[in-house]
Symmetry: C2
Subunit: 422 residues, 2 copies
Amino acid sequence: MAGRKRVVIVGAGFAGLAAAKSLRAAPVDVFLIDRRNYHLFQPLLYQVATAALSPAQIAQPIRSILRRQKNCTVILGEVISIDAGARIVKGTRGEVPYDYLIIATGAKHAYFGHEDWRGFAPGLKSIEDATAIRQKILSAFEHAENTQDDAERQAFMNFVVVGGGPTGVEMAGAIAELAKQSLRNDFRKIMPDKTRVILAEAGANILNAFPEKLSARARRDLENLGVEVMTNGAVSDCTADSVVIAGQTIAAKTVIWAAGVKASPAGDWLGAEKDRAGRVLVTADLSLAAHPDIFVIGDTAAIKTADGRFVPGLAPAAQQAGKYAATVILHKLEGKPAPAPFAYKNLGTMATIGRNKAIADFGSFTCSGFIAWLLWGCVHLLPLVGFRNRFVVACDWVWAYFTRERGVRLITTNARSEDTDL
Amino acid sequence: MAGRKRVVIVGAGFAGLAAAKSLRAAPVDVFLIDRRNYHLFQPLLYQVATAALSPAQIAQPIRSILRRQKNCTVILGEVISIDAGARIVKGTRGEVPYDYLIIATGAKHAYFGHEDWRGFAPGLKSIEDATAIRQKILSAFEHAENTQDDAERQAFMNFVVVGGGPTGVEMAGAIAELAKQSLRNDFRKIMPDKTRVILAEAGANILNAFPEKLSARARRDLENLGVEVMTNGAVSDCTADSVVIAGQTIAAKTVIWAAGVKASPAGDWLGAEKDRAGRVLVTADLSLAAHPDIFVIGDTAAIKTADGRFVPGLAPAAQQAGKYAATVILHKLEGKPAPAPFAYKNLGTMATIGRNKAIADFGSFTCSGFIAWLLWGCVHLLPLVGFRNRFVVACDWVWAYFTRERGVRLITTNARSEDTDL
């Protein structure tokens, strides 16, 4: 095996995992570094945050995904810096030399310069985020049930979701369903259907990547679920007890941030040129102009399509980029000419609002309502890694569909405790 | 409803929940206080700790269990003290007056005066304990894979379980199966089958509540799984890196405590007489001699059977006591004579060791091996609250049986993180 080229991939999200798998038959040693031991199916993370799914149902150990790919070594560790001259990744688990490097470290939330809001308005990127949001939502109803103060009670029953993209729409719809259906009969003092769910979107439309007709349909669907949609609703302040939307102060104990993302600090490691969102600018073959042996893909990179727009931050786009970067490396190894520049193939976009409600845009063909919702279900079930997860998630969905129950209503704390019930 | 008697129950474990349900048709207002929002099926907690089940599969929201019992109000809160003179429970959610009080707050781990071991040898009582142990076990293999030091590698692959009761036996068996079967092909440097699992029991036999023949069978089954059983193996010291068993120092990074329990501090709230394990001494009707309106049940109480032995800390015993306390209260309300003293009905005891391996003792009839394992599965599946949990756990077990996989291999951290994969 001596003399085999080493491909180091940082990040086992959709992009990194696709790159690793595409190299399965290549005469290279692949090293996949991630600081989590699992690949996360992020599109369903909002269902963990709203008590519909367990974390393990949307997460699969990276080691077991790649068990049979003998040329791939999984390293659980965090990257500290990259020495592009010496071709070494420096991390918490020591130094990993590379011949080719693929960076696919994703993105994190951005608070547009208001970092102090982070503590009041958690975002939804990791399993820990999701269980913390779940805990916050479920605890709010408990506090509301307990308080003697009418104003405080309503503040606990007001939920504000900031950002009208797919994640914000999904969160708002799911919280409305949780409150008005699943919890309806579980309290003795409060009426969970008095819950207010407010979706604040700074722009003129929610889901603005979709055709206007679909965006309007999603808005009607949300409003039928009882969600108050506030477009042109920029947030100018956020505290533990309230949020200011378009100049109006709304008392709310639970604010969820789904408004903006910022690329991971990979650009800083590389000293590379970045756009305003921190995304690394890449060449037509997804590598760095200064370092053709380094590829940046997925949400970490700003990739332009042929028509000059940016490739969206969707799972299929990340997977396509991962496969493409692996292909470029294979061509180089085999001495073949470089492949044609990366071309994003839009497979369509979808967003779900709630039970029987979704929208889908396949370019030449759009749909909404029950058909779109069924399509959404299939599209999100099929790629879930591992047959067992697929089957269990399907069972949970069917069960939830008929009972309107939520299966994972646990308020767990971060502190380990030796004590008992009480 | 004014003038209805108030029954306050503290703790929604097996005992408290059985008491609340038994009062469903009674002309009383029931208040069930718990500091968790869910009832936990503790007998399967070891499966959460060993990555086989998700927390939500063995936990059900108390509110949804009691949704239809309109005379019952669930209060999420913690008890601080009890004023038995004024008949008031004082807690984090204010004061709750009572006419009858049932205390069912369970037990916690005891380190026999070595409280400093608690940090090195976590016990298994709560969901947070279970996910912390899961994280510790899975991380140990990651550290072993990464280290360059042979001695350190083996210390990460040595697992010590302290205490040869049912929980200790189940943990030791499950860790051995996890290492030697589920993880077998997932690492590139370490061989997970070089894992050592040591079960340390201070007494002469493991599972000493069982007939000697069954105890010996369980030992053989454990040894066939590769577990080293050290009887007469009292632990005299425990650090982050090692444990001293019967004078012998064993390098082990992961030590799990399943050796002793201590009742919750309910005895202190009540100023009641306690035994050495902190359990409250109760009269023949499970109430306090000084306060016949206060009942103490479940693991919090020291209850004697007719033959002078103590009622064991098992779910059926706790449920029987809960029903009995409710009956005593009903008789008092209706002016009927007191029922016959509490008599524990032994429904049998079981312990599982691993795949196809368990022991069961029904007094007149004992069994072991595959039959006992099947029985164990049914007995632990049927009482799982909620049809959906039962169905999903059954699916998981069938799937795990054929694939030898573990479905919940997640290393989650306590810290919430906004960052991404990396």
